[in-house]
Symmetry: C2
Subunit: 583 residues, 2 copies
C-alpha cells in the first residue's frame, strides 16, 4: 500500500502564487502551512491506518446500537482532542474561527485518508451551521459548545421512504407539547452516522410537519432531536425515543453507518424547534449547501488518494517492453504511454478541482466576512452559481479518476486487497447523496441561470474569457479555453430560450450543462495556474504547463460535444415511445 | 427485482431487416427465433435466480477444492443437458455446429442473466477452439467430445505473478518425460474457474517453456493439463499434480472462482503438448481472440441487464413533480427529463453494440465458412480490425451503462439489495481481463492499423461514409456521422505518421483512437438501423429513429474531441517530470 502525502506543494502554489492577488481573506501562509502539515501527520497516524479495516469490518448494528469499526472511536477522540472538529467554527462556541480556505484544505486531507470517518465531522459541521443560522440563543448555548468540541455529533434527517429528492412529500409529524418541546413521530432513512459509539450524544436535525402545516415544502419545520434527552445543565440524560432500527448494506463507505431511524414509538420523541415553524427548508438548505460543498471536496479527495495510490504502483510494477525505448524491459510501467496518459488525465483534473475548491473557499470567506457589502454580495453570487458545479462536476470527475486509477493496476486492481477498488466503491455514492447530479443540474438551470436571466453566468464567462487571452502559457490552452467559452455562452443562451419555450428540453440538457460548466471552470483554473507558473522552479513549472496542455487537448475539446447535447439533444428522449424501452 | 427479457424484438429487427442483404450465412430466422426463445426461458429459469445468490455467497475454497455458489452446479448440469454448451461447436465432436450469429445471441442472454456462471462455458469454448486449431487428432479425440458436451470444462492459463500483459516473461517449465507427456511446474494466477465442483474434469491449457526454448514469446509452448489424469479410455482417473492454492477476493463476479493454480509439487504435473513446441502463443491467440469477442458480448449483456433493471425501477418509482407537466405529482420518475436522458443514453449505445455484435458474427461465419476465398479473407480482415474495438469499446461502454443505470435508482442504487450495484461491480472486470483496453488499443494501433498502412481501416471508412449519405433518416445522423468519419480519417493519418516519427505519441493516443473507432462504428450501425426502420410498425420505427438521433447529438460529437486527443494529445504526459507526480 502507498502512504498518503498531503498535497502541500500544490496548495502552497495556489495560495502563494495563483490566488495571491485575490487574497482578500488575509491568508496567513505560515498558518496554512503549519495547519496542513499537522493535518497530514494526524491523518497518516489516525485515519489512514483504519480506512481499510473500516471497509472490511463495516459498521454493525448490535442489540439496537451501532458499533463503529475498530479504531474509529479512538481516532475520533484524538480528532476532537487535537481541536480539528472546531477548526472553522466560531470562537464564541469554543471553535477556532479559521477560514474556509483552511478548512477546505484540511477536509480534503480527512476525506482522502478515510472518507467513511470524515463523514461524521462533516455532518456535525453542517448541523452547526444550521443551528447558527436559525436556532434561538438558548438552544444554541445548550447544543453548540458540545457540537463544536465534537463531544456530541450531528446528523441530517431529510429522506423518508416516500420522500427522497422530493422533500415536499415528507410525512414525519411534530406536535407541540405545550412545554416548549415537540413530540416527533416518523421514520427517516439513509441517515449517515444516525447512530454510533464515538460520542456521548447525537443531535438529529429532523424535517417534520406541524399539524395543519401547508402542504409541500412550505409546511416543513426543523427540529433538533437529541438521542439522549438534555438535562437542565445540558448534559445527556435518559435515552430519547430515537432508535436505529437497521443499517444499510452499501456498495462502499462501509465504515460509515447509514441508518434507518425511528423517531417516537407509542409516544413521540422529544424535539426542539429550530427557527420559525414552517420555515425548516430554508435552514435545511444552509446545511445542504454546506454538505454539497463538502461532498465536492470529497470528490477531490478520493480522486487524489486513488491517484497517489496508482502513481505508487506504477513506479513499482515492472512489466513489458517500453514503446520507443529499446532494451527497456525491466523498467516500471510508469514509462508506458497509456499509463502516463491515465495518470496525467487524473492529475490535470485534480489540479483544476483543487484550484476551484480554493477559489470557492476564498469566495466563501469573502461572502461571510468581507468588510464591504458589494464584494460580499458578488462573492455570494459567484458561490451560488458554482456550488452545484463543484458538487456535480467534482463528484462525476471522481468516478473517472478512481476508475482510471484502478485501471493502472490491471488485474490487481480488481482484487480487494489492493485497495484501489475501495476508493472506487467509496466514490460511487458521491454523485448520489446530498442531491444527485441531476438535482444539482436542476438547481444550476433553474435557480442559478434562468432566475437572473443568465446575468451571473455571463459575468463569470466574461471574466474567464479575459483570462483566456492569446499568448497564455500552456500549449493550446488559450485557444481551447476561448472555444470552450464560446460553447458555454451558446449553451447559456439555449438554456434561457428553452426554459421559456421547451422547459423539458432545458432540464434534459441540465447534466451536460453542468458538465460543460465544470469543463470550462476547470480550464479557467488551468489558465490562472499557467499564468502563475513562471514563479515556480523549472520542473514544477513544466509540470503545471504539461498538466494545463493535457487539459487543453483532452478535456476542453469536450465542450463542443456538450454544447451539441444541450442545444440539440434535449428532445429525443421525449420522442422515445414508452412501450419500446424493453424488447 | 425486475425480470430479464431476452431482447428478441431487436434481434429480429437486426436479422430480418438490418442485415437482410448481408445474409451470407443463410440465416434461418425461424431457427434463430426458437433458439433465442428457448435460451431466454432457460436463463430465466436457471441462471437469473442464482445470480444474486452467487454474488452473496461467492465461490469458496474448502480443503483444497472450490465450492461454487448454491444452484450453480444444478444450473450447469441443466445447461449441458439442454445442449447449450455445444451450440456452436463441430458436429463431429457432438456439437450442433450452429452459426456465430446464433451463439452471439445466446451468449448475450447467458451473460445478462449470470455473468459469473457464463464465464465457465465461455472459457470452455475458447479451449475447444484452441484444441481444434492445434491439437493432434488423438488428443482431440480424447478431449473434445467431453468438452463439447460440457462433461468437462476448460481454462486458460497465461498469467503469472511476473507475467501479466507481458507474456514473454512466463516462467512455468515443461520437461519432456519421454512417454509423450510433459512434466509441468509453475504457478499461474487469475485462473477463471481454475477449480470448481460442476464437472468431472478440468482441462487446463497452460503456457510454459520447454528447456532451451528461445527467450520471450517465441519460446512459449501450449499444454493441456487435466485436473484428473486421463485413463486410456479417456475417463478421468487419479488426481494430477494440479492444485488450487487460493481464490482471489474480487470487487465483483463473486460467483466465478478466480484461482491461483499450482502445477506440480515435488514432481511436475502431467501435460500434453498442443501443437508444435514453441508455437504456443499462436494457439493461445486463437483462444484469446475468442475470449475477446466473448468479453465484448459480456459488455453488451451487462449493459442490457442493468438497463432493463433501471427501466423497471423508473416505471415503478413515484417521486417529485414532473417538469413541464402541471399537476403531475404522482407520476413515475420515467417522466423526468434526466431519467429519460440516462435511459436513452444507455439504450442508444446498446442498439449500436448489439448491431455491431451481430455484424461481426456474420463476418465470423463468412470468414470461417464462406464458399469463396476472397470474401472469406475480406471478412477476416474486417474481423481482425474490429475485434479489439468490440472488446475495448463495448466494455468501456458497459462501465458507463451500469453506472448510469445505477444513477436512475438514486440512493437505492447504492444499497446492495437493490441489485444495481452488482452489475456495476461485475462489469468492472471487463476492461481488464482478456487484455486491458490499452492492450486492445496497442493491437488496434500496431497490428491492425500500422501493419497494413491503414488499408483495411480506410476501406471500412469508405464503406461507412457511403452509409452516411445525406437524407439518411434519424435527425442529424447523416451529418454527424460524416463529420465523425472525417475525424477518424484524420486520426488514422495521424497514427500512421506518428508511428514512424513519434511512436510513443501514437500509443499514447491508442485508447482515444479505439474509442473513436467505437463511436464511429456505432454511428454506422445506427445508420444501417435507420435505413431499415421504415419496415417497422410506427412506434418501433420511432424508437429506432429517436435512438439514432440521440446517438447523433450526444455520442457522435465526441469524435471531434477524440480526434484532438489523438492528433495533438500524445506528448504532454511524456513532458511531465516524474518527480512532480505527487506533492
Amino acid at each position: 500500500m502507498s502512504q498518503y502525502r498531503a498535497p502541500w506543494g500544490d496548495i502552497e502554489f495556489l495560495l502563494e502564487h495563483v490566488f495571491a492577488r485575490d487574497g482578500q481573506a488575509a491568508l496567513d501562509l505560515d498558518l496554512a502551512r503549519s495547519v496542513a502539515h499537522e493535518a497530514g501527520k494526524f491523518a497518516q497516524a489516525f485515519l489512514e491506518p483504519v480506512n481499510r479495516r473500516g471497509d472490511q469490518a463495516g459498521a454493525r448494528l448490535e442489540q439496537g446500537a451501532v458499533v463503529t469499526p475498530p479504531g474509529f472511536a479512538r481516532a475520533y477522540a484524538a480528532f476532537c482532542e487535537a481541536g480539528w472538529n472546531g477548526l472553522r467554527h466560531p470562537e464564541r462556541f469554543g471553535g477556532q474561527g479559521l477560514s474556509a480556505v483552511l478548512s477546505t484544505l484540511t477536509e480534503e486531507i480527512w476525506h482522502a485518508c478515510n472518507a467513511s470517518f470524515a463523514l461524521c465531522p462533516m455532518l456535525t459541521g453542517g448541523a452547526i451551521e444550521a443551528l447558527l443560522a436559525a436556532a434561538d440563543p438558548v438552544l444554541q448555548a445548550r447544543l453548540l459548545p458540545r457540537l463544536v468540541s465534537g463531544e456530541w455529533t450531528g446528523t441530517m434527517n431529510l429522506t423518508e421512504p416516500g420522500a427522497g429528492s422530493d422533500l415536499g412529500a415528507v410525512k414525519t409529524r411534530a406536535v407541540a407539547r405545550g412545554d416548549g418541546t415537540y413530540a416527533i413521530t416518523g421514520q427517516k432513512i439513509f441517515i449517515t452516522y444516525g447512530d454510533h459509539d464515538m460520542a456521548a450524544n447525537i443531535i438529529h436535525l429532523v424535517l417534520a410537519r406541524i399539524p395543519d402545516a401547508p402542504a409541500g415544502v412550505k409546511g416543513l419545520s426543523l427540529f433538533a432531536v437529541p438521542r439522549h434527552l438534555l438535562r437542565d445543565d445540558g448534559s445527556p440524560g435518559e435515552p430519547n425515543r430515537v432508535a436505529c432500527v437497521a443499517l444499510e448494506h452499501k456498495l462502499g463507505i462501509h465504515g460509515s453507518p447509514t441508518a434507518v431511524m425511528q423517531f417516537g414509538d407509542d409516544e413521540g420523541a422529544t424535539g426542539y424547534l429550530v427557527g420559525a415553524p414552517n420555515d425548516g427548508l430554508k435552514t435545511m438548505f444552509v446545511m445542504m449547501n454546506e454538505a454539497r460543498h463538502a461532498v465536492g471536496i470529497q470528490g477531490l479527495a478520493l480522486s487524489e488518494r486513488a491517484y497517489q495510490h496508482a502513481v505508487w504502483y506504477a513506479g513499482e510494477r515492472r512489466q513489458g517492453r517500453i514503446v520507443g525505448e529499446d532494451g527497456s524491459r525491466g523498467d516500471t510501467i510508469l514509462r508506458h504511454p497509456d499509463v502516463r496518459r491515465l495518470l496525467l488525465g487524473i492529475k490535470s483534473r485534480i489540479d483544476a478541482m483543487r484550484a476551484l475548491a480554493i477559489y470557492l473557499a476564498l469566495q466563501r470567506d469573502q461572502a461571510h466576512g468581507g468588510a464591504q457589502a458589494s464584494p460580499r454580495a458578488a462573492a455570494q453570487a459567484r458561490l451560488d452559481l458554482l456550488v452545484p458545479v463543484m458538487k456535480g462536476w467534482f463528484t462525476e470527475t471522481a468516478q473517472r479518476a478512481t476508475y482510471d486509477a484502478m485501471q493502472v493496476f490491471g488485474g490487481m486492481g480488481y482484487i480487494e486487497e489492493t485497495g484501489a477498488a475501495q476508493y472506487y466503491r467509496d466514490a460511487r455514492i458521491l454523485t448520489i447523496y446530498e442531491g444527485t447530479t441531476a438535482i444539482q443540474a436542476n438547481d444550476l438551470v433553474g435557480r442559478k441561470t434562468v432566475r437572473d436571466q443568465g446575468a451571473e453566468a455571463r459575468r463569470l464567462l466574461d471574466e474567464i474569457a479575459a483570462a483566456a487571452r492569446p499568448g497564455l502559457d500552456g500549449e493550446g490552452l488559450g485557444e481551447a479555453l476561448r472555444a470552450a467559452c464560446a460553447d458555454l455562452r451558446a449553451a447559456v443562451d439555449a438554456i434561457l430560450e428553452q426554459a421559456g419555450s421547451a422547459p423539458r428540453a432545458a432540464y434534459a440538457g441540465g447534466v451536460p450543462y453542468l458538465e460543460l460548466w465544470g469543463v470550462v471552470a476547470g480550464g479557467w483554473m488551468h489558465a490562472l495556474r499557467a499564468r502563475a507558473a513562471a514563479r515556480l522552479p523549472e520542473a514544477r513549472r513544466q509540470a503545471v504547463l504539461a498538466s494545463a496542455a493535457f487539459y487543453a487537448r483532452h478535456v476542453l475539446p469536450q465542450a463542443a460535444a456538450l454544447r451539441q447535447a444541450i442545444v440539440q439533444g434535449g428532445t429525443q428522449a421525449d420522442a422515445y415511445p414508452d412501450d419500446c424501452w424493453v424488447g
